[in-house]
Symmetry: C2
């Protein structure tokens, strides 16, 4: 039996990422975001939702660039910290002891401790009332060799990403099937 309810956000679980941003003067920030997805295959693009009034919103709009850093589970405390304090009052690189590394193309820094870093340039901003949805074209990706199976395939067991759903963090599960399996077994 189903209940009919008023709207709530239900697209979960989503992967936790750390978005780094910077203004033209070099002030920077790290924000924890789970409201993210891939958007386009050609050109490779992704999207991130950031609430209006956030410090990261201002930084991203200043340079129109950001970096998506994907952390593993061992960074859960740092993930939580970057989602719980404000970047305009606390320097999150200092608070987390993360190591900032120069990007190859964009101004925002990469987080060295995250096994994946994705350099992006903003190509679209959808302003939906209390939120900005930034779509970024991916310019360059940096991937830790240890989690690469080949040039394009990630070993997600080794990455061990953190998932988020309704104020809680979860781990990644187990392999089930390869896409297309239902056609092969018929």
């Amino acid at each position: 039996m189903k209940k009919i309810l008023e709207p709530i956000n239900l697209i979960y679980p989503l992967p936790v990422v750390l978005v780094t941003s910077s203004d033209k003067q070099g002030s920077n920030n790290i924000i924890t975001i789970a409201w993210t997805t891939n958007v386009c295959r050609k050109p490779v693009s992704l999207g991130i939702a950031i609430g209006k009034g956030k410090y990261s919103e201002n930084l991203i709009k200043d340079t129109m660039e950001f970096v998506v850093n994907i952390p593993g589970k061992q960074l859960l405390r740092e993930i939580d910290l970057c989602g719980s304090v404000h970047g305009d009052v606390i320097n999150k690189f200092e608070a987390t002891k993360f190591t900032p590394v120069d990007s190859s193309i964009v101004k925002p820094k990469l987080i060295k401790e995250c096994p994946i870093n994705i350099e992006c340039r903003v190509v679209s901003i959808s302003e939906i009332d209390s939120s900005n949805f930034f779509i970024g074209e991916v310019l360059k990706v940096h991937i830790e060799e240890d989690i690469l199976k080949d040039e394009k395939e990630i070993d997600f067991t080794k990455l061990d990403p953190v998932l988020y759903a309704q104020e809680k963090y979860y781990s990644f599960g187990n392999f089930l099937e390869v896409r297309g399996f239902s056609k092969k077994s018929n």
Copy 2:
């Protein structure tokens, strides 16, 4: 040691949903999508990426409405089927034996077998080359009572969602921590 690579889609794992759509004449379709996220808290909104030229793109653009149906793991075969065949040649409600149920507000049908159904109206379309990113405002949600802890909290263990990453399906993992834990233990 990190490798610097050309762009690939890396925001994974993402939750698998089944999007139902319909044109004004009542032709309908089901498409499997993992490229989805929450977008805004007020009003509650979500986004879905659909490649250009897909049958579902035409249906959604005709009515500017869609329904996001969230399936559990026991529907993995149907999930895979709806992502592997084309809706303009195969009626996916017939192929999956899913039961179409009238929505309360929008024209596209709900899938009865999915424990969560989210009725949406399109408020924004970002066209990024080979892809459309539809942002939908959530108008009404239907949730199976068995997976509800209270009016707003889902028991994700009971929902048992399917995750998707790089052509493979995965299961959901285990609870790790509550958001904000890093502040409490300091």
